[in-house]
Symmetry: C2
Subunit: 482 residues, 2 copies
Amino acid sequence: MAKKTTFNIDKDENFSEWYTDIVQKAELGDLRYNVKGFLVFQPWSVLSMEKMYHYLERELRRKGHKPYWFPTLIPKENFNLEGEHVKGFTPEVFWVTEGGKKKFKEKLALRPTSETAFYQMFSLWIRSYKDLPFKTYQRANIFRYETKATRPFLRSREFHWIETHCAHESEENAMEQVYQDMDTSKKILGDIFCLPFIVFERPEWDKFPGAKRTFAADVLNPDGKLVQQPSTHLLNQDFAKAFNVKFVDKNEKEKLVWLTCYGPAISRIFASIIAVHGDNKGLKFPWKIAPVQVIIVPINNDKKIIKKAEELRETLWDNKISVEVDKTEKTFGEKLYFWEMKGTPLRIELGNKEIQEKNLTIFRRDTEKKEKIKEKELLTYINKTSVDIDKNIKKQAENLFKGKITDTKTKKELKEIIDSGKIARCGFCSMNKDGTKCAELIEKETGAQVRGTRLDKEKNNFQKCVICGKKANHVTYVARQY
Amino acid sequence: MAKKTTFNIDKDENFSEWYTDIVQKAELGDLRYNVKGFLVFQPWSVLSMEKMYHYLERELRRKGHKPYWFPTLIPKENFNLEGEHVKGFTPEVFWVTEGGKKKFKEKLALRPTSETAFYQMFSLWIRSYKDLPFKTYQRANIFRYETKATRPFLRSREFHWIETHCAHESEENAMEQVYQDMDTSKKILGDIFCLPFIVFERPEWDKFPGAKRTFAADVLNPDGKLVQQPSTHLLNQDFAKAFNVKFVDKNEKEKLVWLTCYGPAISRIFASIIAVHGDNKGLKFPWKIAPVQVIIVPINNDKKIIKKAEELRETLWDNKISVEVDKTEKTFGEKLYFWEMKGTPLRIELGNKEIQEKNLTIFRRDTEKKEKIKEKELLTYINKTSVDIDKNIKKQAENLFKGKITDTKTKKELKEIIDSGKIARCGFCSMNKDGTKCAELIEKETGAQVRGTRLDKEKNNFQKCVICGKKANHVTYVARQY
């Protein structure tokens, strides 16, 4: 199978083709597995996602969450206990009905999310206010029999995530947890994965099944659609009631706990990393989550050059940098294109001249510029530059949102904004059930959704709801979503 | 629920009770989940198993394996392609038959192992000898509808493992991989998890379904039974044929690859870590995989003492040591027993006297001895002692095997040895199907199995097969197993 040596697709013009192609060319995932909607995750994505897990789990542990591994299978009866939840998830559940030759009396679900597994155990583990807050998390694979079109990483029938589940003494404490979850999103998605996002409180009709309040981070895709990334939920007390999760408070009174959960989907976030940071030449990884951070490309495979390359590799390896030497049979030119396409942040080009002069030629994927540095300054250079790369990648990503949000006061203009691949900002009547009709009308006419209200409160300069013309109690954002 | 403050069960006298109790008291796993044979893995085991994964994956990557995440679901048709494999695994498969309200035409298996998923993709990825060796691995959860009694960590219906799958040019190259896998077991299970084991080549009748040759590391449980830990297999070429995994060799001839696989089950190895290293007072963790390596126990919760404890914690934390301060409301004495039961390798006891004298009192779980050191020497002490702890724990574990292996030439003695909870070493006629009858007779009369021949060859001083009296072509070991 002959491979094109260069990757060059206009991402802005043809995002969908660009995305499909880069997933295949960079060997991120293989769709040819023979179960529909399931992806084989290949090393170039797994290496990055393992780093993503690392940073996210470290932050959760820093914040006092303890790790669990729960069973993948959840009995049907557990789902039935919470009405909204069963309604919300049952259409999407894969069911295990047989083991060996035995048919089970009751079906077992492949977890589509694990509230009903965790809270049943919470009722056994939590006794007193001294046990609270009870903060957990698990790294897990999740199954949803999606009826929407699947797309690698963004929406698969099996995906990889972290879910945190916490129990609290009061609604107030629970809301503190929700804010802390959003802080985790900011620190990890924002600062380390370099993804800009807006956090919305979702309207009544778009909450998680079983939640009292739902907050979610929306990332903007280059094609103008929003992607819902981590969401965090203050659950209503029906879950605590259903699973009998109670505690004895300081005054020896028995009370129901308040539950919160948070679900950063690593493989889905990876979709945004591909989509937001990539360019016409291919992928572009932020430093900390690059599968290979430094690629050393020898001008040719001469012994002396390879030896020097291996020396450099070891120095960098010892300093905990992910590094490889490209010793394949490709031409030098092919190698340069290849690693640009793969999105490796730094490339060291090594020939006899560099060895003699004790210099190194280094190419930065983010600026596409070459620099010459003294070999002995390599580590200092990398320490400094890696920070700069992330700043720059974040800034490039932030440009995406710029000019994409347009204010409007009319239904007609709203439709035009959405059709041009932008986000409309407008006045809206109500985020509880009174607003449902207006939201449905927007969806019907534009295919776009009311995302809710920003968590970072903004001034409401709108007088009227863009649809019904009644008082605008909220500023909202309207956009199409994946 | 009142908790006993001390854990004290005679492990040698009553291993089974000891094991069940420590799993519960140390909060390693909870069996009260409402699907039979499934365990909730709690933080104290997950923290350790995450470290186990870390060391194992690092070693595999060092050896050139690339990480994948394959789908959990495998179509039934994939299993049907390899006859022995389908026969071996079908009785143990959980089947997914429905998604949402839809019944599937063809059942999907929850992977009981992933050969039939990997090799189908190998056929798409491997083209030429230049692609070989093709070395992969995945970290995954595995499902087996076990008919044998389950036991936490040792045998559950869902467990956590690494599986490696590799393709090679020749049988010789494939066998090199098998030896490399055993080297990984030695470096990780042996040196880091401090578990002694013997590697056997399994007899014909006890091979992995689809293997030409099977090698496995047997760890000795304190009750005299063997536990099969990582096994590695040279597969017969039926798999390559069934999935059409071919390559073009240097002479442009198309050939079938040779496949190998290796399956260290992290959660099952954890069972051996509990069982082998623990003592009457509770768990005992090797340094590198201890959930908490150093516990700081303040004499009381006075501000000054807590402040100092937190200072020490931060110093250790910055040096990548897993450390905690026990600020609970337990008494000082209760805390000491608690952390001994939990198996934390080092305990720092901190009071006003220590702060004044700038000394620290340190308790070692492995030797059960206290030492007084200068505070400023803490890091040097830990660096030195952590190595010593692992050496000592390994040595204590090696004592288990000592005196447990007894030579015999008679059937009667063989039975006595097995009944006394020991391992019998004896002459044996044949490791291929000719020996099946003798092996079955042993199993019937003693409940024990012929484990095969040692990988590290030993001299055969036996003349005759212990059962049939024919020529002893092999030395073998006979023991009961889990």
